[in-house]
Symmetry: C2
Subunit: 332 residues, 2 copies
């Protein structure tokens, strides 16, 4: 029992209720459930991701960053479907001994996330656990009827694009664990921030509806997630490793010692959008990138699956098959 | 690492994908999110509840029962809002060492629940934890626009009703822990089943729309949950303890030694519906009970809050104020 945390009802009243941001159907998180209105001409989009301390974030990450990440990874899934965020729920299992100061910082992280990326917290449950902190978020968004972007609609000959820069999240995890040697302080801070506080590409995601053929957010790593698109769409992909967008600090590491591009495209936690589009859309996508101020790089092309090629193959510009051992992170 | 659990993708494919029950927008749980269509004239209703092993169920409960309970407590919240169930998501944190046999039983529990109470699993996340099993379910339902039942619309003079029988869940927890002495085997099994496999009153809940003024499901205990309605509706309640519906095995315990009615109305885990309705609705509610084959008992009346009475007071037929120490279960 942590004497310094108030009871469940006071926690709701003081901490969680304000996160409903005045949405009337949330009833201040004090009723049995929330009521959300349907929007004419739009479908609902729903996703759930669960983060466990020590697995998906480090136990000593700042509470506000943990909160940010729990919401961001779910917002990122909405973005990958071309959806706009509408509401979130949070099921939070707190270790005994959690302090009020910790909770206040965590709540501020949620609040800042919601203010920046839109939508409100409309439901939640806070329980105690003997185990590590576990945060399960469900994100609910909306998309035009029948317009959701999936992993399965890429066609041979589509161009492959990725937003932002790749590999910073994986480098951030190494940096947060004290790795990467004598990295300059600004680079370390940059990588760690990218790992702890990924930016869900919600603005880009819903703008891709009508342009993109298939989309996914990069959580398992560019290579693994591109394989998901290839497998679901029954195509293979050819990417140009020289076109993989890297941040300046990542470029410095790749041109120096110790980090190679294969590692960056295999690392997870980028939360950039990876998508395909018919080649005639290249101009529109370039305009869109400029309009929303987010770099979008064309990194390759999808093609008919080769005779005898296994499902989901990705090759580089020299025809070398790219592999990464396990597909994504193996938890069990 | 439990060598006997397959990897995350195989778990989804073999175990979770069939739980989407053919709902096309769930994409077999293999895309970034699910797409749900809006129903004309209806709102969405959303709730999240999180169950932790050792807190909300016993670690040695059968896996199928744990699954049932995780879904049932969320379905019960939908019922309390007058909603019909449409979809569920599940975030499951599994302890290292979880076996495939355990998971198969758990999945069967979900499948049986969905078949019996309707709706499909449309999203999920399965992760490993060093801590106790944690299951966070989000339930999504629908209700006519503006027709959701809340805790806050009871009026003085409304009749107070409760479905089913009260106290079996709390007795079931005691029985499952080996308490209640030399209980007959059939009674022990009855109580334990009521604790482990509560029945969400979904059929009743959505039929109460248009009849009930306020509603809540009984998770914290009849008394605590009636206090929630009283507080939110700014009324007080007078209940007749002789009218609290008890199962035959519970009656036998109350007339024997060791259990009194105060304990039963303070115990949680009933997952019956507690609701208020204008007195002129009594006939309709009686007809409804008969039609759906579920006993509904009239247990009291709401009244104007007395001068100097604190918010949420519940008194018995003799004017005795009923108290239960902590409001509900205190986790922290």
């Amino acid at each position: 029992m942590a004497a310094d945390l108030p009871g469940e009802f006071e926690i709701i009243e003081r901490f969680f209720s304000p996160l409903s941001k005045g949405v009337s159907g949330a009833f201040g998180l004090k009723d049995d459930a929330a009521v959300l209105d349907c929007e004419a001409g739009r479908d609902f989009v729903v996703t759930t991701d669960c983060l466990v301390s020590g697995v998906h974030f480090l136990a000593d990450d700042p509470p506000g960053s943990i909160a940010h990440k729990a919401f961001a990874v779910n917002g990122s899934d909405l973005a990958a479907m071309g959806a706009k965020a509408k509401a979130y729920t949070l099921a939070l299992a707190l270790p005994k001994g959690t302090t009020e100061a910790w909770l206040i910082d965590f709540i501020q992280g949620i609040s800042a996330f919601l203010d920046r990326f839109g939508a409100a917290l409309v439901g939640g449950d806070t329980v105690a656990t003997e185990g590590p902190l576990t945060a399960s978020v469900t994100a609910i968004g909306t998309v035009g009827i029948g317009q959701a972007l999936t992993r399965s609609a890429a066609k041979p000959g589509d161009a492959i694009f990725v937003s932002g820069t790749i590999g910073d999240g994986a480098l951030g995890l190494r940096a947060a664990r004290g790795g990467l040697g004598d990295l300059p302080a600004y680079a370390r801070a940059f990588f760690v921030d990218r790992y702890r506080r990924p930016t869900p590409r919600l603005e880009l995601g819903h703008r891709l509806v009508g342009f993109a053929s298939a989309a996914i957010d990069i959580s398992d790593g560019l290579l693994a997630d591109l394989e998901h698109i290839c497998r679901c769409s029954n195509v293979e992909a050819r990417i140009d490793l020289g076109h993989i967008p890297l941040s300046e600090p990542a470029k410095a590491l790749v041109s120096g010692a110790g980090v190679d591009i294969d590692e960056l495209i295999s690392g997870g936690d980028d939360y950039e959008l990876l998508f395909t589009a018919p080649p005639e859309m290249v101009g529109e996508i370039s305009d869109l990138a400029e309009e929303i101020g987010l770099p979008i790089s064309r990194i390759g092309v999808t093609q008919q699956r080769g005779e005898g090629q296994s499902v989901g193959t990705v090759i580089d510009e020299n025809g070398r098959e790219l592999t990464h051992g396990e597909i994504g992170y193996r938890h069990f």
